[in-house]
């Protein structure tokens, strides 16, 4: 034993080693070490799932069959309900039996999509600043994330997107409303990207986790609507809209020609999304988007007041337009490293935000500020600490 060729030493794969450390656990640790910190960090809402949905859990669990595996693609009733939601709200016509899968969150859905359409070495176009897990997933799938910077308002630059497409490109990814910038892409922009993908024979992956979170008249648009589903992969999530982050339920809407191969990926990665979570999601969908929309005015008020406070310190930072999700991605006038700044804001001023570097912002000092997680008073106290902290640290 022990003869023969020796492998490389025991260590992680290059693809894992190259991927960035996830920022959220790092920030969470700083917060844990600094009791009393107000978090404007992680992207979560302040409310939980509909109470009526939770009350149905015991009845669901009383059926012993529900503890065994449920169908890979998800509970048929849940998929059917989502098919109806897509048709009514998004203009997407996607028969569930051949186009809809329930995933354990939209992250798993995105990884599924990459594994299903990309081979190692293929390229995926991301608009930067990007949602960090998309860039990480591309790396772990053995693909190359080709990052195309958005403009100063965090809007896509179509010519740059087009120029980034090569013979190895398999998809362009858009996130609207956007994480981390809060930008909502206009219908025309999304249609142009979608047409570009069609013309070049690649997929358009559209992440719509924040679809209900728009403000100041901004309107969400689903690029997979209007019969554009043959090359559009759409991702949705229950995490934000229905306060179900820890339950891990998302939806993956795929072109019909990918469905069988996607089932292979789904079976391998997760077998099925957790059944109890699917049962709660079904009841939450019955409550409908009203559940989220009723909570939106309060979030919008927090947003307004936070925006007001941030706008009063133009010498310290600028706030590009953000009419969606629950983020501001502000540009701080400082040469300080944003990771250092974020750590000092927690340790010295008890307020947590996310440093821009994690979203692929290579130059300048940016911070993502999240306002979905807090009731009004806490959010405003957090904003006060942020303004005070920035002044103290940066000497504004």
């Amino acid at each position: 034993m022990g003869k023969g060729p020796k492998s490389r030493p025991l260590r992680a794969s290059d693809r894992a080693a190259r991927v960035q450390m996830p920022i959220i656990p790092t920030v969470a640790e700083w917060i844990a070490q600094t009791p009393g910190t107000i978090s404007l960090g992680q992207g979560v809402v302040h409310y939980g799932p509909p109470p009526a949905a939770l009350r149905k859990i015991p009845a669901f669990l009383a059926d012993r069959a529900q503890h065994k595996y449920v169908p890979d693609a998800g509970l048929p009733r849940l998929r059917k309900a989502f098919e109806e939601k897509l048709r009514a709200e998004n203009g997407i016509d996607a028969p569930f039996a051949r186009r809809i899968l329930v995933t354990a969150g939209a992250n798993q859905g995105f990884l599924n999509a990459l594994l299903c359409i990309c081979d190692p070495g293929d390229e995926v176009v991301l608009l930067s600043p990007y949602y960090f897990n998309h860039e990480m997933a591309a790396g772990l799938a053995g693909c190359r994330a080709v990052c195309v910077p958005t403009d100063r308002n965090y809007q896509p630059r179509l010519a740059k997107v087009e120029a980034a497409i090569t013979g190895r490109t398999r998809a362009v990814v858009t996130v609207s409303p956007n994480n981390p910038s809060g930008a909502v892409y206009p219908r025309e922009t999304l249609l142009a990207i979608n047409r570009l993908c069609a013309a070049r024979g690649i997929y358009h992956i559209s992440d719509e986790a924040y679809e209900y979170f728009t403000y100041d008249g901004a309107a969400h648009f689903s690029p997979g609507s209007g019969g554009r589903g043959a090359h559009t992969i759409s991702l949705f999530s229950m995490s934000k809209s229905y306060g179900m982050a820890s339950w891990r339920v998302g939806f993956l809407v795929v072109p019909e020609h990918l469905f069988d191969d996607m089932m292979k990926v789904q079976d391998t990665v997760i077998i099925c999304a957790p059944a109890v979570s699917q049962a709660v999601a079904l009841e939450a969908l019955a409550a409908g988007r009203r559940y989220c929309l009723r909570r939106l005015p309060a979030i919008a008020r927090v947003r307004e007041r936070m925006l007001g406070a941030l706008s009063r310190i133009p010498g310290l930072l600028t706030v590009p337009p953000s009419r969606g999700a629950f983020y501001f991605l502000v540009k701080v006038r400082s040469v300080m490293d944003d990771l250092t700044l974020a750590e000092r804001l927690i340790r010295e001023h008890k307020v947590a935000v996310i440093p821009g570097g994690t979203f692929g912002i290579g130059k300048g000092c940016s911070l993502r500020i999240s306002y979905g997680n807090l009731a009004s008073e806490a959010a405003l106290e957090g904003t006060r600490r942020l303004v005070r902290g920035l002044k103290a640290i940066l000497g504004g």
Copy 2:
């Protein structure tokens, strides 16, 4: 728009296209089309989680923080409880903070492991017949599954395993008690494989999802025990032992030097395992292995009687030794394609089993028979149908 290089047509990736179709949904569809079918197919137990664990759900959900994301690696209390279980039952000394992650089932844990230690083009040694999702995961990770046939009793052949290791090999995978064969590998065999991996500087991935399911004096052994955790990745699951298949909870025990990179993978694939499932798992662990072991004698009785019935038709099939899990992987004396045989058994005789081809058995006609899912009477009626069906179809 539409100028520039044209990509290949819209279709699935080669890696997805090459992966086999998952057999379970296929068989499930045949069963759905044949009402009254008794399933000796899918690998599930007949019982659900501890009722006391389910009763704790409302108290857990009353804490609104539990609906937000929970820590990527899992609830600290659950990981701590599993650390204690590993030390007490498995002889594995794995401080949870640096070595244990909760995954959404052992499948996700296995994919995590591959992404964390293998680059595209790397090789993973599987013993065949293999657990199909392991082979599928290797393909989707862009790796090559190098399959080493076991002997006629489904036991590993060490020299063949050693001969299969090349400079690209990153791990040898063992599953004991085995799915699909039910073989329990002796301690000496597992130690020899583990030493071989150490000598060659590669990982040993040990899937122990069926650890409690042994019969006739067979004993489970954890190769990661006794300080061998620096190159051993151990996988566990709540799905079988605690009847929690649909809840998606598994455990991934990794060498400490992989932990940080594994957290990147975990964050990207799933963020965190579903919180409610983790809460139930914590209570289930409090009930302890007794919960499973109390149910084992009934399963063992089904096994005995099924074994008796199958042994009475030596002209039709042979039953290699199986002292673990809840499977027999029988060799049918027929030139018939096993997929065809499995379909006919359902459609004509209303009994479902899994064709051997899905486990990488390339020659001969094999069927996997599962006996964990049924109360005694149904299992015996299923066995009668199977014997009757085989006689009718094969003319025994």
